[in-house]
Amino acid sequence: MTNPSAARLRERFAGSVGAAAGADGEGVVHVDAARAHELLAWLRDDPGERYDYLTDVTAVEYRDRERPLEVVYQLRSLPRNADLRVKIDLPKDAELAVDSVVDLWPGANWLEREVWDMFGVRFRGHPDLRRLLMWETYSEGHPLRKDFPLRGRFSRAEQVRRALGGDLTAHYSLEELSIAEAYDALPEDLRRQLAPRPGSPAAGAGPGAGGEGGHRVVELALAAPGRGMPGAPEAEGPGSAATAAGPATPAGPDMKTDHMLINIGPQHPATHGVLRLVVELDGEVVVRVIPHIGYLHSGFEKLGEYRHYNQIIPLTDRTDYLSAPANNVAFALAAERLMGIEITERCKVLRVIACELSRIISHLVWAGTTAIDIGAFTVFLWMFQERERAYNLIEEWTGARLTTSLTRVGGMMADLPDGWTDRLREWCRRFPKTLDEVDRMLLRNGIWLGRTQDVGVMTTAEAIAHSLSGPMLRASGVAFDVRKDLPYLDYDTYDFEVPVGEHGDVYDRYLVRMEEMRQSVRILLQALDRLPDGPLNSADPRVILPPKRRAMSDMESMIHHFKQVMEGVPAPAGEVYFPVENPKGELGTYLVSDGTAKPVRWRIRPPSFLNIAALPKMAEGHLLSDLIAINASVDIVMGEIDR
């Protein structure tokens, strides 16, 4: 118990705070469910604590059926640069419910919905507790519970039948259909179809209606600036008279107009994958936007519980597939901290190269697709040309273009091929010229400036409250970069700058990401200069396979090799949360081990999941075209959001 906050907590909330230990000095406290909300509020507001940033909310269920299910809040104090993990134990024989913290941190909204969806933990007072990743009428249960089979409860044919036969409107919530108020008056079959959920205001008194009632979250409470403002400047578009489900608002003395409900995605050119946005439009003005995710939910975290640690690495490729090497590094670092493995100097530098290279290729895709969304198609092709050159380098190193599986626990999959460093150096010399060319093409263009400046503004306070991270957070003026503030891989010894925006609009996000690419080139060159010789992999015999030559000639080595491959490497019981600065933002890997070779819980803290959750906050009141630009500026990748 090294974290000072824990001691103060124990002193203040005596009797409600239990003991716990995390790996290497991570602060973990167990608290009573009854006082959790009060305690978390105190942690946020106390001038000595100031945990203003909610990093993650998740849950853990152990294989040991007797152990209680834990709800985990990962907190961070940005001013004090300290982390704290608060856990609430929920015995399984009682009701699985805790108080929602959405009123403290709006960013908790989707995180808590995900926990409800995956674990069946109810959050009292949550304004919109619906399933998030699975669809609303999903009837097989809560997938991350241990009693849920990996392949689901039904036969495959039944699953296909239910998926195809499902009514698509069942994915909507009552609010989206704008009939929440009219729910009681709806015909019986329609009500059944709409699948009212506990806690929804329309379904009557839910569990949360009493306790924390009254705090409806701003973004869901239809408080968009454009709503119901007849004669607002933007409303001068074409008068909208359309198929609508929305409430009528007066738009002029004699004109009766309706809002239009429009469904963008999941298959739409501008949703960057299979995001679905339900948008309520007043003419061209976005009155409300409700993102729906889960259309690419692939069960990564469930699958991780059935894999050895090294077998999870190929899965990490496919979460954020735009920057696979960085994901590999993030997972390997977390697993190594869990197992207490030191990696070699050469390995560290190679991992820095992998991270920065993937930051560049990820930002390249972002710049290209954002340009397409704003209408400049050519930029996309220029960016992809550079990406192809980077692909060549990555392919030479790893054998794959996209899904690299570059790291292993304790080392790397392969060392660099001959002459690779020279080719990387040459690429680093040429690549910034393309960036300059794109800058010339876009930043001197009045249309581009008009489309990006002052669009989708997130203020500093909003960005922190919504738990944004990465370039999104920095564009809003928060100088937080995991590489600088919680350094890993010796990032503190590299000389680089962290670009920070001041307006928090689409334009600043563009500038921040463009500058990050240039800074990454700087880091790459420094890493190339300092690349030491020496062993690549850690000498730890637990995780590193014996050399092939010895495995083939020496019985002991062969047995060791066999056991490692077939049985995996057991990790000591414990848990670790390891944040890294990924291109999209802070990628946290939360691993819980019970001493076996497969993790009990492999949780990804997905940066673009939290970034896109703030889309309604950013886009409401803007025009439809701005919504597309804002969505692009968030830099989402659905593989990571939906997992």
Partner: protein
Amino acid sequence: MSPVTGSAFFWTSVVKILIVFGGILSLVAFWTWVERRGAGWIQNRLGPNRVGPEGLLQPAADGLKNFLKEETLPPFADRFVFLLAPVMAFVPALITFAVVPFASPLPTPWGLVSPAIADLPVGFLYILAISSLGVYGVVLAGWSSNNKYSLLGGLRGSAQLISYEVSMGLSAVAVLVLAGNITMNEIVARQQHSVWFVLPLSVAFLTFLIASFAETNRLPFDLPEAEAELIAGYHTEYSAMKFSMFYIAEYSNMVTASALMVTLFFGGWDIPFTAWDNTPPWTVLKFVATFAAFWLKVVAFLFAYVWVRWTLPRFRFDQLMDLGWKVLLPVALGYVMVIAVAVWGLGAAGVPFGLGYGLILTAVSAVLLGLLLWGLDRNRVIGGSAARQRARWLADAARQRGAA
């Protein structure tokens, strides 16, 4: 030689119609190929090159495929209007060209054949009248499809086309003032006797150019079919040949708009720096040479369309409206005043119509053009609603503070 009359007039007209419309449709097909190859050129790639020599048969393959594809009719679509809309887009795009003179008169055994299909005395009014019909195709397609994306595209299209129609007409008024006539042939003749109107009327040319990009729904004004926002806009629900008709209409509009710009501002079929081509006697050689000159200029403008498309991002809707109503319209209107006063002044001063007359106007326009370009530069005008919205938020916040 006197113009053809009687049945010879009828038959030459039929031949002209066949040749011109056949030619335009071929040019359209060819130009889809040029656009795709041109895009490849700008974007460091090849473009279609597998079908026929250098991919030249690609438009044929696309066309035949679309011809044989299944026609879809969405349920709840207004069947009649849904079928009518592509025709409404297609026909005006083609027949607008009828009054544009594309070469010097051609001598034939039956008399002198006029270079336009219909040498209407009200040629320019005809163009304004017919080209504004094209908007019906867009609106009706958007409305009848029973699709919200189509509807949004149709609404955007109608607002955009109607707005820019006004600026387009007003900027052409400057040409009419200077030409003193609305017959297309006369406008060409006046340019042959002084300078091309692009110089004395540079501001009008600029506004006309912008407006014609908007009228043809091309980037940066392709909002009605903005791919990233509205999928395919007003023609989202159209498949096969009906979709092809929208496609052909778009390219025909480009050809017509280019031909108009050439005729109004670039001397039509005039060959620069020589008077050989614009004085009788008319010969077949002159016909061929001026014909080539005209289409060369048209193709140059068509290429500009391709170039701009692969270079610029897209406007937002309110920016588009701002530009149309708050910039182009006042500018075009004011410029008509300036030109009218200048023409009156020059007439009062007794300056004869000719080269010197044109150069004086050129000097006046150059100053105005400089001012306009300075004003249109980054962020002075095209700031858009976001800036206004922020101002409103700030005002709201101030009011709330005041209330508290």
